[in-house]
């Protein structure tokens, strides 16, 4: 139903994006492959790489287990109490860590659980000699659960809330006890998505960089990504980095392959006008348990956020904001974030319209179908080839042309754009597909096409989802330390890099202040994005 010109434009745009991504990712991988091939191969399975791979898997597995195991009772308690005081705010709180830069979260966790943190302060005051240490495995687990328990709670709660309201009435009417309700209603529903949720969290933990960098303790508690970073940045040992990079790609590809077989979980719920009546859990023991478990979850998630706020306000924010280093870093971050967001959203739009153009053909030939599938896969490519590996590859390429720092900002912006691509596509695709579905026939019959269609039909409806995608992409880029870590220098300072280097030079007070500013900016962008999305859904 599109005109031939529209179809051609769509497909050409898709091809351009596909080619650009393939060249960008392909160059990085080809360089890694070509680099001292023999030496890297012999380094692939040394005792060192082996121990790092084992630790990566071990900490990811433990993090996943802890996150899911704790999220299940929290989700059950929240689902059981549709009218719990402040429930809407608790759910909003559970959405915050997703938008919080990992580095800021790590600082908040240190503020609560760290050596100088609140908890150890109390323990020392209580006369305990040995403070709790959060560096090493325990710190990594703490950080991963802080970020992933809320995610798991939201995904699992959505599943429980999607169950028909009659189920709860029936189980009350049949006289099911809490254990029976769990066995016959709640667990079967959760069991369908727990593997998918666990897979997603495992993936996030196996590829997490910043949290392990900040909270991991030395070579004993290092993951593949951080080991690659150390190999390049400190030891300058490219063969080792290359060997580790291939282990990392194999690992993520294997995990993504496994996840593809599991049912996906989403956190969208259609509660519009639906009233959930829960008659179970009216006993005081049950109320106490649910109240307790919800309170523990809220304190666990809120305390690091609160700590960021309190510690940040203690810093001299005015002086920090006016300092030349901050202004330089903020400008750099802003330029990189805007560039990355615009690239990510444009590429997403191109990918989606190209796929629409291909679907529009009555019987697309094999080449067209192949293109459509490749485009769908493009957006997830960055999940298999993590930022640190793209960075490593391009680092080795650019080194041949002189000063890497000169190219670094462009590189970071590109990598950030690629990282944001899957999120942007996820936000934009349903909106664009709906819009296409609703307007395509009418627009064709009225003969509206080209710029007029874009201005009159598309833009008014799509502005909001596009802004949502832009703000998500910007938040992601602004908070990212992974891509910039390899290139950060006195010539390239972004806000996260400034926080990290301030922290490394033990100017904790300044780091806290900067972290607060960065956290507030990223959360504001994320909240702005979600608010837009919600209103759009109601329209």
């Amino acid at each position: 139903m599109l005109t031939t010109a529209e179809r051609r434009r769509g497909i050409v745009a898709g091809l351009v994006v596909l080619a650009a991504v393939i060249v960008f990712v392909g160059t990085a991988i080809a360089t890694l492959l070509a680099w001292d091939g023999d030496q890297s191969a012999s380094r692939l399975f040394t005792a060192y790489t082996w121990s790092i791979l084992r630790f990566t898997l071990w900490q990811a597995a433990l993090s996943t287990l802890l996150s899911v195991a704790f999220a299940i009772p929290v989700a059950l308690a929240l689902a059981r109490r549709p009218r719990f005081a402040g429930r809407a705010w608790i759910l909003r709180l559970m959405a915050l860590p997703m938008g919080l830069p990992a580095l800021v979260g790590a600082l908040g966790l240190l503020g609560v659980w760290g050596r100088q943190g609140v908890l150890n302060g109390w323990l020392t005051a209580a006369g305990l000699e040995h403070p709790v240490s959060v560096y090493g495995l325990s710190g990594i687990l703490l950080a991963h659960t802080f970020f992933n328990i809320p995610l798991a709670v939201r995904l699992l709660l959505a599943v429980l809330e999607r169950l028909p309201a009659e189920y709860w009435l029936l189980s009350a009417s049949l006289g099911m006890k809490p254990l029976s309700i769990f066995r016959f209603v709640e667990w079967p529903a959760l069991a369908r998505v727990v593997p998918g949720v666990a897979g997603l969290i495992f993936m996030l933990c196996a590829t997490s960089f910043t949290l392990v960098l900040v909270l991991g303790g030395g070579p004993a508690a290092t993951t593949l990504e951080v080991a690659i970073y150390h190999a390049l940045r400190f030891d300058f040992d490219p063969p080792r980095a290359v060997a580790l990079a291939f282990l990392q790609i194999a690992l993520t590809a294997a995990v993504i392959g496994l996840i593809a077989f599991l049912p996906a979980a989403t956190d969208t719920v259609w509660t519009a006008g639906r009233k959930v009546l829960r008659l179970d859990g009216r006993s005081s023991a049950s109320r106490l348990w649910d109240g307790l478990i919800i309170a523990v979850a809220v304190i666990f998630v809120a305390s690091p956020l609160f700590s960021v706020l309190v510690a940040g306000l203690r810093a001299d924010l005015w002086k920090l904001v006016n300092g030349p280093r901050f202004i330089q870093a903020a400008t750099t971050s802003l330029v990189i974030a805007v560039t990355a967001a615009v690239i990510a959203v444009s590429a997403s739009l191109a990918i989606i319209t190209a796929r629409q153009a291909i679907r529009d053909r009555r019987d697309p030939n094999i080449a067209a179908r192949l293109l459509s599938t490749s485009l769908a896969g493009t957006s997830s490519l960055v999940l298999v080839v993590p930022p640190i590996i793209l960075g490593t590859g391009w680092f080795l390429v650019l080194r041949q042309f002189g000063n890497v720092a000169a190219f670094a900002p462009f590189l970071v912006a590109f990598i950030n754009a690629l990282m944001a691509l899957p999120f942007a596509v996820r936000v934009l695709e349903p909106a664009l597909d709906d819009h296409h579905h609703q307007t395509a026939r009418l627009a064709t019959s009225l003969g509206i096409s080209g710029p007029a269609k874009w201005r009159l039909i598309d833009l008014p409806v799509l502005t909001r989802p596009i802004l949502t995608a832009l703000s998500f992409a910007m938040a992601l880029s602004l908070g990212d330390l992974g891509a910039v870590a390899l290139f950060g220098s006195s010539e390239l300072v972004t806000l996260p890099w400034l926080v990290y280097s301030t922290l490394s030079s033990y100017r904790t007070n300044d780091a806290d202040g900067l972290a607060l500013i960065l956290g507030v900016i990223c959360l504001a962008l994320t909240i702005l994005g979600t608010a837009g999305k919600k209103e759009n859904a109601n329209a």
Partner: protein, 235 residues
């Protein structure tokens, strides 16, 4: 003492809507609850089932005050329009949960569950999953469970609204058969005047959160057009 269901000055406010019900529902009869959408038909049923609690007044079933009792303690079974079966459990399990909510079943219990399935025309369906059943078959399974529970009161919230006309006829015939065998009290929300004509003895008309009229079928139907009364002769 009244053997049926008594709502004694029951009052309840949900959100901005207030409900006030005061009525008696005859034992061993089929009472239809009719009225416009949003009038409070489901709220009335939920009060009897125990899903809602009144803010004042009393609910008595067979002479016993059930105002504050849990739904499972009341002598009632409930059948909804949809989602009467847990989609992830097979038909036998769904039905047998009516005998024991923890599914601890003796061999006799299993026989009784199988017999209930036979009685509603679902012999051999035990191992099937709800998703593979038609709308009518799902409601039959819900009836089988109500049959097993053997409670004096059966509450139905538009149980046939999602079925086509032929199935509706079959299902109301089955409902009437089961009702005659057990002499239970049936309370059923319905929008369908022909259905009222086929199976109801009395009609409670609910409007704006209150019982507007409480009358025998003949009186109720005589207020409407003539063709319906011809149908009522077949019952």
């Amino acid at each position: 003492m009244h053997d049926g269901i008594v709502l004694d000055k029951v009052a309840l406010t949900l959100g901005k809507t207030s409900f006030a019900f005061d009525c008696r529902i005859e034992p061993g009869a089929v009472t239809a609850i009719a009225g416009p959408s949003g009038a409070g038909k489901s709220t009335l049923l939920n009060l009897i089932a125990g899903f809602e609690r009144p803010q004042s007044g009393h609910i008595l079933i067979a002479g016993i005050d059930q105002t504050l009792s849990h739904p499972s303690e009341r002598p009632v079974s409930v059948v909804f329009q949809d989602h009467n079966l847990f989609a992830h459990l097979d038909i036998f399990t769904n039905v047998a949960l009516g005998l024991n909510p923890s599914l601890r079943l003796s061999p006799q219990d299993r026989d009784r569950a199988e017999n209930a399935l036979v009685r509603v025309g679902l012999a051999g369906f035990g191992k099937r999953m709800p998703g593979s059943l038609s709308g009518g078959e799902k409601q039959r399974a819900a009836f089988a469970r109500a049959l097993l529970r053997n409670k004096p009161v059966l509450l139905l919230d538009e149980p046939f609204a999602a079925l086509d006309t032929d199935l509706r006829l079959q299902m109301s015939a089955l409902l009437l058969d089961l009702h005659k065998e057990n002499a239970n009290t049936v309370v059923m929300i319905t929008h369908d005047r022909e259905e009222i004509a086929r199976i109801a003895d009395r009609i409670l008309h609910v409007e704006k959160g209150q019982i507007a009229t409480d009358e025998a079928k003949a009186d109720y139907l005589s207020r409407f057009a003539a063709p319906v009364s011809a149908l009522s002769g077949t019952v």
